[in-house]
């Protein structure tokens, strides 16, 4: 009877949030197409493209050969020619095969043509470790952050998965959309009147007065577990979810770190020349001196071996230890 019968939020899984955003965007904009391995009837390795083939058919939701170089090239070229392709590269490790068209062409297209052409492609790919071994676990977001002309987003919640996909599809240039194997089955809420998540805006996920943890993607959940443990020890963590890695919202991190006086960066990828190094540099540039620690993977490949995998990627233990080390007087 009243409008209250429609709840103001819906519950959904991360994978569903991607599919929903794509469904909405494809309904609205005939230029949006999806290219990828097993994105069609199969619905994507994590069901994140579920229902799209049924709704939009095989010409807009295309299964491709296992040929990442051409998949990215096709997406970039089609984008330059007027479509808005979403290219699914199953794992970020395979993006290495498609970096030439993405970096050497797509990211530079607007610049090199003096604004005549642009390549509004969304390359959606999945990072992170979950038992799949050395060539299926890597997080190389930090490489992309230094490529002028590229934007990089990395949602950690279903709402952001939805909102950042919509935002990415409204960009004029290439966007790499990085999700994470361990996020797909996580659930969350999406407001019925949700709007796209602005690219370039971090968000404070948890308030706390003692230390700021700046992180992204699945590591937001690790940070949260660590924060729970630290809370029990009397340490209140503030968690900043970067959400967008390029451009990076340094201001939000600075505001938080200025409040707490201490910053821990947390990433699943390698520390060397990583996201943490960049965040730390830029925060200190603005705040002057700042106590900083960073947490990331061990400098080693990530094995599919459960013992070794757990040892090499950061978990709550490492975060707790880093925070305690930093706050030790």
């Amino acid at each position: 009877m009243s409008s209250e019968t429609t709840p103001p939020v819906s519950k959904l899984f991360f994978a569903e949030a991607i599919a929903r955003a794509l469904h909405e965007a494809m309904s609205r904009d005939p230029r949006v197409i999806v290219l990828g391995q097993d994105v069609g009837r199969y619905g994507g390795p994590y069901r994140e493209f579920s229902g799209l083939h049924a709704a939009f058919g095989g010409r807009r939701v295309r299964d491709t050969p296992v040929a990442e170089a051409s998949m990215v090239g096709l997406g970039v070229g089609a984008a330059a020619a007027g479509l808005r392709p979403v290219v699914s590269i199953t794992y970020m490790d395979f993006l290495l095969l498609g970096l030439d068209p993405l970096v050497n062409y797509g990211a530079k297209l607007r610049y090199k043509t003096g604004g005549q052409l642009g390549a509004p492609v969304v390359v959606k790919t999945t990072a992170g470790a979950r038992g799949q071994g050395v060539a299926h676990s890597q997080c190389i977001e930090s490489w992309l952050v230094g490529v002028p002309g590229l934007k990089v987003v990395a949602p950690s919640t279903p709402a952001d998965a939805w909102g950042l996909m919509h935002a990415a599809l409204q960009e004029d240039g290439p966007v790499v959309y990085v999700d994470h194997k361990r996020l797909f089955p996580t659930a969350g809420e999406l407001a019925r009147d949700a709007v796209p998540v602005p690219i370039g805006r971090a968000v404070v996920r948890r308030r706390g007065a003692d230390v700021t943890i700046a992180t992204h993607s699945y590591m937001c959940r690790v940070a949260d577990s660590a924060a729970d443990r630290l809370a029990a020890l009397g340490v209140a963590c503030e968690i900043v979810d970067l959400r967008t890695l390029a451009p990076l919202d340094v201001d939000t991190v600075c505001e938080s770190a200025a409040r707490t006086g201490a910053l821990v960066t947390l990433e699943e990828g390698q520390l060397a020349c990583g996201i943490g190094a960049e965040v730390a540099y830029r925060v200190r540039e603005k705040t002057g001196t700042m106590r900083v620690a960073r947490v990331g993977a061990l400098p080693a490949p990530v094995s599919s071996n459960p013992v070794l995998e757990a040892a090499s990627v950061p978990g709550p233990d490492e975060v707790v230890e880093a925070v305690r080390g930093l706050l030790r007087p």
Partner: protein, 308 residues
Amino acid sequence: MDALALLESMMLIRAFEEALMRRPDHGFQLLSSGEEAVAVGTCAALTSDDTLLSSGRSIGPALARGLEPGPVMAELLGRTAGPCRGRGGRGHLAQPSAGYFGAHAVVGGNLTIAAGVALAWQAEGRPGVVACIFGDGACGSGALHEAMNVAALWKLPLLLVCDNNGWSVSTPRAEALAPERLSDLAAPFRMPSATVDGMDVVAVRDAALALAAHVRSGAGPAFLECVSERFATHSTATRETRPQAEMAAILARCPIRRHAARLEAEGTLTEALRAGLERDVADTVADALRYAESAPFPDVADALRDVV
């Protein structure tokens, strides 16, 4: 390799995988069941001078190549008694000392590596053949083109074996690859090629022998396409997309039953002999499991070993 040995090798792969599947702790696996004849037939054409590389669907190739089942099982279960100390796993199983240069889980990723191994062998004047088994999916990748071109140009001792099981995860080969036969891809590079029934281990072995002889002669690479069937889902972690009725027809094409029937018809295989083989294989697998189970997981400190 004689006809009975071919049968036993295929039976071992099947039994090994069945035992592995009964365990809850294998992570997930890409099984070779249905495709045993491709691995076994190929390996029957290889000698101890040769080496083998494969895709991440590695159990069949590794066992067919003659790796000890115990260490292979240990590797797949993440134990340090595996040849890679439990860190390679299904996707990166390797034992070069046993003629298995290794699996590589990047589709098409082993093709140019294999060409490089062949280049080294040529440079060193080694007599062997470098064989690389890859899936139909890898035929879409540019790496195949680059590897074929350079192997043909430089007459590298490379035997390319496409295990065409008709699928790349959920995508049928016809929707991913334009050529009529995948062996057609070899033609522009003027290398000998063949397409054979990959469910017939003798056909695979004979074609592999012929093409390996060409490679061995120093005349350059060759390409063998084996048309096979995947009995299981893509991996034990992926959904089946093929209708049940279709699956029944597929499973009916079992390469082991087919070869056994042939041997029975020929009189080479008796009921008793077959039962004996089954027992042997079961014992071997049981031993392998015991071997693997008795070995430890790696230590956490191992995570920083052998990085550089």
